[in-house]
């Protein structure tokens, strides 16, 4: 591990973050682009959920996480507060994992 890697990575990671937030900034974009951007959270959050539920590196597998996330989906559907959804998701996963 070198300082070069730490600082290089810091610079690269920050450039990505700054790209959208500062370079594009608050200038107005074409309406069609705006409509696309509004859908990004739905697409990316769904992708993150799928990845965190099924993947281990480049492998897909079904394990206790699926039970926890399914329970979380039910809790969200029943309009439970976010904090409750989180606790149920983690709790059910830990429970199912301990049973196996």
């Amino acid at each position: 591990m070198t300082w070069g890697l730490v600082l290089g990575l810091a610079t690269g990671a920050y450039l990505f973050k700054v790209l959208g937030l500062v370079v594009v900034g608050d200038r107005s974009l074409p309406a069609v682009v705006e409509r696309c951007l509004n859908l990004i959270p739905a697409a990316l959050i769904a992708a993150l959920i799928a990845k965190d539920t099924f993947s281990v590196g480049q492998h897909l597998q079904v394990d206790a996480r699926l039970a926890g996330v399914t329970a979380a989906i039910i809790a969200a559907w029943r309009r439970a507060p976010v904090i409750v959804v989180i606790v149920i998701g983690a709790g059910v996963t830990a429970l199912v994992r301990s049973l196996r």
Partner: protein
């Protein structure tokens, strides 16, 4: 801290956001302890490990870089793998740029806090003020706990396995709660479904980090038609 910040924190609607932000911070903090341990185990000094969390502040990238180094990989491959994982923050920044308008120094600071959790929280409430509050609260909370956890892990040298408490499901569970309001519209539901499918379909075949970027292409499929044209009776 300006008086405006305190006024925001006293807003009743901000209370649940604060609770969620701190909970997410704690869950991420447990992972940070693992990162601190992994960093030192990979041969980094405590200073380098902590600097990484302070400056890079993108969990997946940091874990990736450290594990490549630990398994004997080159600096170059550690860097490229980690940067591929960091690329999605560019898309997140673009999304948040519509909400985080303001002075340049504020946006430069917001950029460093632009990660999965802060963006998901920052796009959830309907009210723009609450979206901003959710972004900042979550970003600051995760930043504080991520760095605190890294320091603890780097010094202690051993960590509790996040899996023991099901914490590996805590973050996706939080995302489930956050995505819910986005599913109210038909384009939102379509974007979510296509995004998840694109991600899962590409995980086994492309490098780690890329599936999330590919999932962003879902918006091109899900975006609604430009003008409300007269639809035949289809529903």
């Amino acid at each position: 801290m300006t008086p405006a910040v305190f006024a925001t924190l006293r807003d009743r609607r901000v209370r649940p956001i604060l609770t969620t932000g701190v909970t997410l911070g704690l869950a991420v903090g447990v992972y940070a302890i693992s990162f601190g341990v992994a960093g030192v185990a990979a041969g980094a000094t405590t200073g380098q490990t902590c600097a990484m969390s302070l400056l890079v502040f993108t969990g997946a990238s940091q874990f990736s870089a450290v594990s490549v180094i630990a398994s004997g990989g080159s600096i170059g491959s550690a860097m490229s793998g980690a940067l591929l994982l960091a690329a999605r923050n560019g898309v997140f920044g673009l999304t948040m740029s519509r909400r985080l308008t303001g002075r340049l120094p504020t946006r430069l600071l917001a950029a460093q806090l632009t990660i999965d959790e802060s963006t998901a929280m920052g796009t959830t409430p309907d009210d723009p003020d609450l979206q901003r509050a959710a972004f900042w609260i979550t970003g600051v909370s995760v930043y504080v706990f991520w760095n605190l956890g890294t320091l603890i892990g780097a010094l202690a040298g051993n960590a509790i396995d996040p899996k023991t408490y099901g914490l590996d499901a805590a973050i996706p569970a939080a995302f489930v709660a956050m995505i819910w309001p986005q599913l109210r519209t038909r384009p939102g539901r379509r974007a979510a479904a296509v995004g998840a499918v694109l991600c899962l379909a590409t995980i086994p075949v492309v490098p780690v980090g890329l599936p999330i970027l590919i999932a962003a292409l879902a918006i091109l499929i899900a975006v609604p038609a430009p003008a409300p044209t007269t639809q035949p009776a289809s529903r």
